[in-house]
Symmetry: C2
């Protein structure tokens, strides 16, 4: 990093000084890269951070709060004086402004609302009307549009004039002159390389523009932007009026956020709202305890199943030796299949209607994987018996067959259950990623015990049982 | 979709006709959106697809092969005639070209190389010198640069001239006049809104540009682009010459690919190379069998542990009833902690050096979660006993205490192990995501049994044991 003026104040110094010398620290923040300034603010209590922000010039404030990396933005905003917060909100990018405003508590929202100009208030209300995971909830209402009959020359002059204030100028929306509805979308690149005398409409290709509605899921928006290599996608209402646009950087944030949510759900917990280290311990325990307890209650069925087989267990304690091995194999194969299918659904590689094709792939896959583990298990028992490492009793060969057969059955069942559960979740309207590894393992555990003891009963009846 | 000329053919029709009428199908492909044309090609055998591609005009070919959505690009390319493949390669975006070329088999690569002009060959070699998951491996060598002392007017004229051919024009690199090294980066937006008479250098802010080296990991590149909201980042060598740039759309692809890899690894398997439905069944089984067998072999230690406790097991069969319940709780809490930490490491929310802080969070978290499950387990045993649902024998209260204590121990151990394993993986140079849910479960299973029987022995010695 460049040294602009004297020594670059480190994040550590800024944090140490902020409470006692907010004005001096505000001065230092202006010397570092905005991303580092944000990092420093992220390390401060919101109250102390607000004290520093009050001493920043308006432009610096706007830049910092516009950046999604500022974690406590809403909390800091809520603690600013009205004289500071009002103009700041007016200056912010509309999407970021709505996001920050949304997380301020309702009472404070009301108080702040009074200090906003009507245009800002209207923009906030328009975006806040949609959920945060929809196109309407993440769109910005600042974009460049122009009548479709302008010349390229006029278009470039317009962008030169307003471009500094708009969040992005790389996608330009051409409106029908008559009713201001969306006619075409062009890129700044197309405009810059075009003949200055041509109309802006002639610059566009003749395909209809890709659009989304305000209620489109942000995952779907991300998929469209990535699929068509767009820099932004317009959000239009039923009358084809442009409400706003979703830009590629919002989409990256959305993709990363969805990935985190999916990973946490797949790990068997509710998704966290923030970075691991910033979440309060109590909040984190709450997010984890729910699923853990639910899984525990379901898993209690294993104890019930075992109680059911108590007579067999007492006759053949040797069978218990392999319970953990067999159950975990079912859980592992299920976890593989689930993670594969969750991801394939998220990337639209398979649709709900493909469940049957997937089942027809997972069935032979499970049988082959089960046969492989069955073989290893069989060899293990025979080896231990033959080399005198352990004595499985007179019926050791039958036990080996029981374990092998149970593994084939359970791994097949695990692969099938694991692959079908995400489809079922989606069908029921849940996130497929809720079909977590622990969830699948629990499902397979209970059934696995039943499979194991049924096979044992069939093979060992009359001898051991 | 717009109908340009006659009826728009569906993907299904295109696929059905392709083998028999490649020329007619090539004609129809030009009527649909390129993304749909690509979808159609993705459904064809590479040989048939190559037949169709041969009938396309050069420009349409280039557009299709430039799109990362074309799955079998390399296979189709390898089957094209030299007369078709040579000019196609010359026209493609350099990053896409190198990516396609990389996956053609070496013999065919050699044959194709002869038909390339020296500049194209040099560009391919330059990119292929770097691994696919590095900045050098995904960069494009086509970008806009200009001397830093040009005027904005000159800059815009230059972009108008070359902009159509360059992959992106939104990031512009200003070079020192003397040695052509990188001085500054500006955006097309800054250029368009600037005074036409000013120098391009005066348009830039005075911070040094964000750059990466060709060996920078693609995940790190994605993090930088997302953190600094860039449209592209330049890849420079030690002499600060610009080798190429990585653009935001490449980064989205990289983020999605890394997410898929991580999800599959976390599910307990090797990452697949392609979409679920396109991977051969045999390939998929290979990717899954390795980890499954390795986990199975490790899990065999549970059988060994159980054999070790055989005497206790025979004395107290009642203890076996809770083995699946206790073991799975350890696995579930471990899976939660692992998925949390893998994701936090991937997003740089925690660094390797934070392992101790994480451990100090997971220890109390595990104790509290364990106590919760222990309480539920205790209540369950007492309830069943009191209501006559099951008879755990005269020492039922001691058994309830054993189960509760074991749950506290195992959930704590699971949370700690699960959170520390990703750090250990990273420390050893592996991907933290290799610390999969099944891996953690297996680790916790074996130790969990030892914890359970040790606690049982301590509590029940002299009574049941």
């Amino acid at each position: 990093m460049q040294q602009v003026n004297g020594l670059k104040p480190s994040v550590r110094e800024i944090v140490a000084q902020a409470a006692a010398h907010p004005a001096a620290v505000a001065e230092s923040l202006r010397l570092v890269h905005p991303v580092e300034a944000i990092e420093s603010l992220n390390h401060l209590e919101p109250k102390i951070a607000a004290g520093v922000v009050e001493h920043l010039p308006q432009e610096a404030r706007t830049n910092l709060f516009n950046h999604p990396g500022l974690i406590n933005g809403s909390a800091i905003m809520a603690l600013l004086s009205h004289a500071c917060a009002g103009p700041l909100l007016a200056e912010l990018n509309p999407d970021r402004r709505a996001e920050l405003f949304r997380h301020i508590d309702p009472e404070r929202q009301e108080a702040l609302r009074e200090h906003l100009d009507p245009a800002t208030r209207a923009s906030i209300d328009r975006i806040m009307a949609y959920p945060t995971d929809s196109a309407g909830g993440i769109m910005t209402t600042e974009f460049v549009s122009m009548p479709a009959n302008w010349t390229v020359e006029q278009g470039l002059a317009h962008i030169k004039e307003v471009g500094g204030a708009r969040e992005t100028v790389y996608a330009i929306y051409l409106l029908h002159q008559s009713d201001q509805t969306l006619q075409q979308a062009i890129s700044l690149r197309q405009l810059v390389i075009a003949d200055r005398k041509a109309t802006v409409l002639s610059v566009a290709n003749n395909r209809p523009p890709i659009t989304v509605s305000p209620t489109t899921d942000r995952e779907e928006v991300a998929r469209l932007i990535s699929r068509y290599d767009l820099l932004a996608v317009p959000v239009i209402d039923d009358a084809r009026q442009v409400l706003g646009i979703v830009t590629v950087d919002d989409v990256i944030d959305a993709i990363v956020a969805e990935g985190t949510e999916d990973a946490q759900k797949f790990g068997g917990m509710e998704a966290l709202d923030g970075p691991y280290m910033q979440i309060g311990m109590f909040d984190m325990i709450k997010k984890r305890a729910g699923w853990l307890a639910a899984l525990f209650l379901s898993e209690m069925l294993t104890a019930t199943a075992m109680q059911h087989y108590q007579v067999e267990l007492e006759k053949a304690v040797v069978l218990t030796l392999f319970i953990p091995l067999i159950m975990s194999s079912g859980g592992n194969s299920g976890s593989q299949a689930t993670s594969l299918i969750i991801r394939a659904i998220a990337l639209r590689q398979v649709a709900l209607k493909d469940w049957w094709k997937v089942a027809m792939r997972e069935l032979p896959t499970g049988l082959i994987l089960g046969a492989l583990l069955g073989l290893i298990g069989f060899v293990r028992i025979v080896t231990w018996q033959k080399f005198g490492l352990y004595n499985y009793g007179p019926h050791w060969l039958l036990i080996a067959f029981t374990v092998a057969a149970a593994l084939i059955g359970i791994v097949t069942f695990g692969s099938l259950t694991g692959s079908m559960l995400p489809f079922l979740m989606k069908r029921l309207g849940f996130d497929p990623a809720s079909a977590s590894a622990p969830f699948v393992a629990t499902l397979v555990d209970v059934t696995g015990l039943v499979i194991y003891f049924s096979i044992a009963y069939a093979i060992l009846k009359g001898t051991l049982l």
